[in-house]
């Protein structure tokens, strides 16, 4: 699993690629907690995320809670159909604002 960070206007985009599961959830959790702590507006671009497990969902849940507590914005973009299905079945789609792509997500933060 790779995460790359880019600035775009006043927001920060974290681009995820690969699989987010129990084998990398601890390191992803640390990276994401750090990014949420530093950025008032964050887009998680999941367009290249192929797979998410329960452990991966927990990582995103903790980030969403951290952002809510700090009154920061965190939105998701570009969910692939398989990831979107997991979000819908688990009800995670009700927790996050999701957008079809990065540009739409960035526009929502302006």
């Amino acid at each position: 699993m790779d995460i790359t960070e880019q600035k775009s206007g006043g927001a920060t985009v974290l681009q995820f690629s690969g699989r987010l599961d129990g084998t990398n959830s601890a390191t992803t959790d640390t990276k994401l907690a750090d990014a949420v702590g530093r950025n008032p507006a964050l887009v998680l671009d999941l367009a290249a995320l192929d797979y998410i497990s329960s452990a991966g969902l927990r990582v995103l849940l903790k980030a969403a809670k951290q952002a809510q507590t700090a009154r920061q914005k965190l939105v998701l973009a570009g969910l692939q159909p398989s990831v979107k299905q997991v979000f819908e079945i688990s009800g995670f789609s009700t927790l996050f604002l999701t957008f079809p792509n990065r540009d739409a997500a960035l526009a929502s933060l302006k």
């Binding site: 969902l57 927990r58 809670k65």
Partner: protein, 215 residues
């Protein structure tokens, strides 16, 4: 911090009688199996998705209950299903319950009292020592259900377990439960192990109902 399985046992504990809720053994065993799987997932010993369960790490957690469960799940193929793991563990439900109660006693939350009913039958009670931990679990559940806050992963687990076992009525009145039902449903399905456990309990309950048509 208590394990999810210990929190489930506490919620199922009846303060007046010092006994545990009169749930069908089959259902309580399934709920305990779900609880320990959720604990093992939170301890990063296993991971699940919509179809499978993968054992990630066989190293002991230091909790006897969880390590007993980890050994049992370890007898399954490395990649299996959540339902298979629940099935293996629920069949050892009595041992899960015994280890969970023993840990609550060890933590100083319950005490064990031997007694007799009608001076003949031996009975064992587990009175709460001061009830602080049970009040804390109930308060956490109430705070979560009465707010729109994003839950943390442990909160989701306890809601899923309490909902599956019908134990939320120990925290809320009927009318409160009705008004919180959407929120309960939203949170309870967020844990994929919880979803599989609930499906299994519904099936077991249907099978029990068929066996006892006049029950």
């Amino acid at each position: 911090m208590l394990t999810c399985a210990e929190e489930l046992l506490l919620l199922a504990h009846d303060e007046k009688s010092g006994q545990f809720a009169n749930l069908q053994d089959l259902l309580m065993n399934t709920a305990l199996a779900g609880a320990v799987l959720m604990d093992l997932a939170l301890a990063n010993r296993l991971d699940t998705d919509l179809n499978s369960l993968v054992l990630l790490d066989r190293s002991p957690t230091g909790e006897k209950l969880l390590d007993f469960a980890l050994t049992s799940v370890g007898t399954l193929p490395k990649k299996t299903t959540t339902l298979d793991a629940l099935d293996v563990l629920r069949k050892q439900g009595d041992e899960l319950e015994r280890l969970g109660i023993a840990r609550l006693i060890e933590r100083g939350i319950l005490k064990e009292q031997e007694g007799r009913i009608l001076w003949v039958f031996e009975s064992r009670r587990y009175p709460l020592i001061d009830g602080k931990e049970l009040r804390e679990v109930k308060r956490r559940i109430a705070d979560l259900l009465l707010s729109d806050d994003i839950p943390d992963p442990r909160d989701i687990v306890i809601i899923a377990l309490a909902q599956a076992c019908g134990l939320l009525s120990r925290v809320f009145s009927e009318s409160e439960l009705r008004s919180a039902q959407d929120r309960i449903d939203q949170l309870a399905k967020m844990d994929l192990i919880g979803q599989a456990m609930t499906d299994m309990m519904v099936e077991l309950n249907a099978a029990l109902t068929k066996l006892m048509p006049y029950g």
